[in-house]
Symmetry: C2
Subunit: 209 residues, 2 copies
């Protein structure tokens, strides 16, 4: 088969699974979790509606894969932010939080899929692993922040950092914090950065007591 012939949509797709995941993300972004359908995804991937069955048992299966992929990209975003931030533990923690919030605002429906109750219905080792990696990174960052103050975080400290970050992300996502949503991106980021820094600094200061 020549390189040119590839254009003519060969009978076998080559990487339909990957294409379905990509199409699934678009479907999720455009139609939301409520409007999500396997037929829609197939249509988007330019493939017959029965084709996905060879790769995913049902919509739940695809959503599970999407959530797993989401968690990997979620973590990746946080790490990217950290690379660009100052190296001190608090700045690193803040950068991670900004990445968390970034992701939520860039992919609202996917974010909701990842954290909303009951969906995806299927669990999978792949999903569990990806979610776990994100949590481990959070724990690692909080631990480092406490270590800088000569202590170790309690379980509740980690959860508190998580809850604050997640709460901001979800409220921004749901457009419930009016004045924050109305702001320009740069300005909003400044405000959020400030909030996270203040809070994280206080939390880490507990290590000194």
């Amino acid at each position: 088969m020549t390189a040119r012939a590839v254009k003519a949509a060969p009978y076998h797709h080559g990487d339909l699974r990957g294409a379905l995941i990509k199409a699934g993300e678009a479907e999720l972004a455009e139609r939301g979790l409520e409007g999500f359908s396997l037929r829609g995804v197939a249509r988007r991937a330019g493939v017959s509606h029965a084709a996905p069955a060879h790769h995913f048992q049902d919509a739940g299966g695809l959503l599970t894969a999407l959530a797993a992929e989401g968690f990997r990209r979620f973590l990746h975003r946080q790490l990217q932010r950290q690379k660009k931030a100052k190296p001190d533990p608090v700045s690193q923690m803040v950068a991670s939080g900004l990445g968390y919030i970034d992701f939520a605002m860039a992919h609202p429906a996917l974010f909701r899929l990842m954290f909303s109750s009951g969906r995806p219905a299927h669990t999978s080792p792949e999903l569990a692993e990806a979610a776990r990696a994100a949590f481990d990174q959070l724990e690692h960052d909080v631990t480092r922040m406490f270590a800088a103050n000569g202590g170790r975080p309690a379980r509740d400290d980690v959860l508190e950092v998580w809850a604050l970050t997640h709460g901001l992300a979800d409220l921004l996502n749901g457009k419930r914090m009016r004045f924050l949503c109305d702001m320009r991106k740069a300005e909003r980021e400044k405000v959020v950065t400030n909030m996270l820094r203040t809070s994280f600094t206080e939390i880490a200061a507990r290590a000194r007591r």
Copy 2:
């Protein structure tokens, strides 16, 4: 019409609007936002599927009404908690937070409806008013907490309290905090109370600086 005759399901319902809201809550609770349908609600209310149209334009209209009712009950739950709590400002704030989380766990789908992006599609003065009342109460409680320390909260302080509480609620709701979800209710409440109290006390202490 005698009182006994009422039992025989009169042609006119009497309070179909109220009944539809009640049925809508049940539909939401059992089938979630994704499975929600007007026909399902009508069925649940024991009424023909075309009847709701006289009271709500479409599913969005009913969901808007449900969200508004949700916000009222949400606030009510917080106030109830406050009545049973100690009167000092921090305990009152913690009580409010516990009510917030209570509500989220008791009505996961409704909670998501209230705070999830994009739904309900319609806004209404009724909904705006109910949501506003809940936010005002939060602001009032935070202000009182700061006043006890001789200061006034910045806008960011209010948001921080909100974000932390909301984050906890949403993560618990989404079952993402495993060990917290696996706990018995009483124990979980103890842990959450402790977290909120620690954090709120620190935040309020900013008033002294």
